[in-house]
Subunit: 95 residues, 2 copies
């Protein structure tokens, strides 16, 4: 299982896509077809990477949409696991 808090996918996005290309948030947002705020929110961890956003990233940066979505899933899953004991779930099959 994941032991440590994974970084926001937006953090990875900034380091792996924007910075290497010297792209500003405004320029990247325009290319992606979203508002500056929307991209800004993603980059700062205020919003996740939606399936639609993953497709946008895959087109603009010629990457895999799945990888972005998987990163997002792992991030959300890690946070959900932190509340595992409060879920009050009964086991239906033996562990």
């Amino acid at each position: 299982m994941l032991m440590h808090n994974p970084p926001h996918p937006g953090e990875v996005l900034r380091e792996l896509c924007l910075e290497p290309l010297g792209l500003t948030v405004t320029a990247a947002a325009e290319a992606l077809g979203v508002s500056r705020k929307t991209l800004s929110a993603v980059l700062n961890g205020k919003a996740g990477i939606s399936p639609e956003m993953a497709v946008r990233l895959s087109i603009a940066f010629d990457t895999s949409a799945e990888s972005w979505l998987n990163q997002q899933s792992q991030y959300e899953l890690w946070h959900a696991e932190q509340h595992r004991k409060e879920l009050n779930v009964k086991k239906l099959v033996a562990a």
Copy 2:
């Protein structure tokens, strides 16, 4: 890429977890700690598998939360890909 419409993860859940164990929706919902309506919505494709639900499933059925979440991601991604051409995204790196 995915060529065909993937099934709702809820459909898989019903066939792989509920039916083999002879579980009713009511019984499974109670064990999972959610309302019958919530589980029913998932099973019938009216709702997706949330990260929290994935953790619930992993506990109750001793399965991988990741696999459920990945199925959900693939499902959402396939639908998002269907609108790829309407997104108006500019390529920032060569394909």
